[in-house]
């Protein structure tokens, strides 16, 4: 007789992951609830204008841990909080801060998914005797025998599609992860939560960055650097028009994001937008909305999902922001040497120097360095990388 496999559910205290826990608990498999404790919300509270009492609705707040624990108790499953604060700070918070200081606009959720969450959850799950993990992400993963690869696909509920944040998943991770919400819609999830008797079935969705109370990243940067005994590097410089002439001055490049309109500190008859941030000269270029459009982008630190590697030009749709409608483009390798394959896992080895060039059919507005570019073949995620 084979024992049913134990599944570890990543529980954030929100409706989605709580419902996943309820669904799996009902399925009869042994289920263990895990919450990664990633950041101490009280750590920077009261510093540099950061609110004293963090609100609920963030992945690492005490209220959310309380909610997750209550769901586990309700379902009668074992539940543990795993302390990953040191790793989160090293792999997510510090790169996030450094990216901003370098004039880019990072996505901490993708950093976390790519470098911490799935890797750590799978490791913790295995160490406690579970074989697979389950999360409340809206995405579909399935094995395609023809290609002998695990495929990541957009979910049934397009409005909740989270594949943009999941492009970094390896074949190994995809093979050992369950996304039970991939085929159902959010209203159905809430209904399932009500049926399971979960008190939090009407809890609002969380939207903001979990470790930044109030969502003010500049406030966070200042308070964090101060706590670390670091100065914000001097990156003040010129604000220049697209023709190169200086029209003003700014206090530091980390105040800007490509496409930003507010807070430029110059007045102009027509609206001005940040077009480019040059971390070397500290020069921030601004211009009209139509100047934001570009036809190409380059991406690095690539991960391939539906293909082993990119060997020649490929037609794809590319998403350059979470809320961006994928746009047609031709993708081609742009650096010498194709990436190798890990002979054991079939994963492409992520090479920091490997680069792709994407040429859009139509120019795209505000291609932002630091964000990810995720390549789709209709519903399938081909792969993705970080915009340079």
């Amino acid at each position: 007789m084979t024992q049913p496999e134990t599944i570890a559910v990543a529980m954030s205290g929100g409706v989605d992951s709580s419902t996943v826990a309820a669904m799996l608990a009902q399925s009869g498999n042994p289920v263990v609830g895990l919450t990664l404790q990633l950041w101490d919300q009280t750590r920077l509270a009261g510093k540099n204008g950061i609110p004293d009492a963090p609100k609920a609705g963030r992945c690492c707040s005490l209220d959310d841990v309380y909610d997750a624990r209550r769901v586990a108790e309700h379902l009668g499953i074992p539940y543990y909080v795993v302390n990953q604060q040191a790793r989160f700070e090293r792999d997510v918070v510090q790169p996030f801060v450094d990216e901003y200081l370098a004039g880019r606009t990072p996505i901490p959720c993708s950093l976390c998914n790519n470098h911490l969450k799935f890797d750590q959850l799978l490791q913790t799950a295995r160490s406690i005797g579970a074989t697979r993990i389950a999360t409340g992400h809206y995405a579909i993963n399935e094995f395609d025998p023809a290609r002998n690869r695990w495929i990541l696909k957009r979910p049934a509920d397009r409005a909740k599609d989270q594949t943009y944040f999941l492009f970094g998943l390896t074949q190994e991770q995809l093979a050992h992860t369950l996304f039970p919400l991939g085929s159902i819609t959010k209203p159905a999830v809430r209904a399932a939560a009500r049926t399971a008797g979960l008190a939090l079935s009407e809890k609002p969705d969380s939207q903001e960055i979990c470790f930044i109370p109030g969502g003010d990243y500049k406030q966070f940067l200042t308070a964090y650097l101060e706590e670390q005994g670091r100065q914000i590097p001097e990156t003040a410089g010129d604000l220049v028009a697209s023709d190169g002439h200086v029209i003003g001055h700014h206090d530091g490049i980390f105040n800007f994001t490509v496409g930003q309109r507010k807070g430029l500190g110059v007045s102009s008859p027509s609206p001005l937008y940040v077009l480019n941030i040059d971390p070397a000269s500290h020069r921030v270029t601004v211009g009209a909305d139509e100047e934001l459009a570009t036809r190409t982008l380059r991406a690095r630190r690539l991960n391939w999902i539906s293909i082993p590697s990119l060997t020649g030009p490929m037609r794809v749709q590319i998403k350059i922001r979470h809320r961006h409608e994928p746009a047609w483009a031709t993708l081609e390798p742009a650096s010498p040497g194709a990436p190798g394959l890990d002979s054991e896992t079939g994963d492409s080895k992520i090479s920091p120097n490997q680069e792709v060039l994407a040429t859009f059919d139509e120019p795209q507005r505000a291609v932002t360095p630091g964000q990810s570019a995720v390549f789709y073949d209709n519903d399938e995620v081909v792969g993705g990388g970080w915009i340079v």
């Binding site: 134990t6 263990v32 919450t35 404790q37 101490d40 690492c60 005490l62 841990v65 624990r69 074992p78 543990y80 909080v81 795993v82 302390n83 604060q85 040191a86 790793r87 090293r90 490791q123 913790t124 295995r126 160490s127 406690i128 005797g129």
Partner: protein, 390 residues
């Protein structure tokens, strides 16, 4: 699945005799010990009988026994009840947080606080306490037995130092009570806190020895209970349960139960230390254990995360602890082990096994089967995990 509980230093189950002793005081003799009628007199008599049992246990006068809600209240009362702005407190870095956080709060109110670090063995050097004394030192507070390592502190020598210097001395004896012969006169302290639930009594009840003449301000006011040293209607069933538990604990020391427990612990410890890459926390340089309570051992494991081991063991039916739970329930490395000089990685990879006095050979056999398997499994999965993060 077999379940083995080896977290007795967190809490213990009530013994049947304790439940029986308490039973009449929930419904039948429910009176308020302050009332003048028969119901009150019954309750009062029960409280006084319990007080005499505790006086025997402490080796003090019944009037020196004050009932309270447990160890945290005792520790808080000792510090808040004696220290005023301008006073100096000498305590240690390995105390329970009921002492450490009370000290922290007092430090914010103008009390000077000195924390004595332990030696790598986990022992506090009395000489370090003597050297920390100042003319304004009013209180020395040191625990009898450490909750993480079980190491027994040299309280009698420290009491001599306190006596010579003319300062008050408080012993947090929560983890020592019932595990070593007890005598507050021999200990030489003015105040001594204990808690019922660590010795198979109920939660939420404890007691404190307060030597006659000690000018201790009450923490709680609002009534004449406990000779005005602790206001609040007496928790009569709790007090009765505490007394019974203490009675049974004294018996266990005298009838050889605790001696047998030490042998069980030693067999468990030796068995776990057979696993490569392990070591004892709270030992001399040659590896010999220093004086400890009979039920506790604390062991480090190389190349794994203690948190994952605790969870894996729990899912295999073995309840142990590693470090202390932070506010979310995640594990923080033990401040005791860190103070003893362990680095964060090793402190995070340390587990405390604390046996109930009812532990059996079969319990130890099961743990000795499960722990090596779990350690091997974890190490095979994450060969490089330990040491990568501070």
């Amino acid at each position: 699945m077999l379940r083995v509980y080896m977290d007795a230093n967190a809490t213990t189950p009530l013994l049947p005799e304790v439940v029986e002793a308490m039973r009449p005081y929930w419904m039948e003799h429910f009176g308020n010990a302050s009332s003048i009628h028969l119901h009150g007199q019954q309750a009062h008599a029960a409280v006084n009988r319990a007080r005499e049992t505790l006086a025997d246990f402490f080796n003090c006068h019944a009037a020196e026994v004050v009932f309270n809600s447990g160890g945290t209240e005792g520790d808080n009362t000792a510090l808040f009840g004696l220290l005023r702005p301008g006073d100096h407190l000498v305590t240690t870095a390995i105390e329970h947080s009921a002492v450490l956080q009370a000290a922290e709060r007092l430090a914010g109110r103008g009390v000077e606080v000195t924390h004595i670090a332990p030696q790598p063995t986990g022992l506090i050097d009395p000489e370090a306490i003597r050297q920390a004394l100042q003319p304004n030192t009013r209180l020395i507070s040191v625990m009898l037995a450490n909750n993480e390592t079980g190491v027994l502190q040299p309280v009698e020598t420290i009491a001599d130092i306190a006596r010579t210097a003319g300062t008050f001395f408080h012993i947090d004896a929560v983890q020592g009570a019932g595990k070593v012969p007890f005598d507050v006169r021999r200990f030489g302290c003015h105040l001594c806190s204990i808690s019922a639930h660590k010795v198979h009594g109920p939660k939420g009840i404890g007691t404190m020895f307060v030597r006659r003449g000690t000018p201790l301000d009450p923490l709680l006011v609002g009534g004449n209970h406990e000779r005005r040293r602790r206001a609040g209607t007496e928790n009569v069933p709790g007090i009765v349960g505490l007394a019974k538990a203490i009675e049974l604990a004294t018996q266990s020391l005298e009838d050889g139960t605790i001696g047998r427990l030490a042998q069980l612990r030693d067999r468990l410890e030796a068995g776990i230390l057979q696993i490569p890459g392990t070591g004892l926390n709270g030992s001399c340089e040659d590896g010999a254990a220093i004086p400890r309570v009979a039920n506790t051992t604390n062991i480090w494991f190389d190349q794994l995360e203690g948190e994952a081991l605790v969870i894996a063991l729990d899912l295999k039916g073995v309840a142990v602890s590693g470090g202390s739970a932070c506010h979310s329930g995640a594990t923080e490395p033990s401040h005791v082990l860190m103070a003893m000089g362990l680095n964060k990685t090793r402190a995070r990879a340390s587990l405390r096994f604390s046996l109930l006095k009812t532990a059996t050979e079969a319990d130890v056999d099961y743990v000795l089967k499960v722990v090596p398997e779990a350690v091997e499994h974890l190490r095979a999965l994450s060969p490089e995990v330990a040491g990568t993060l501070g």
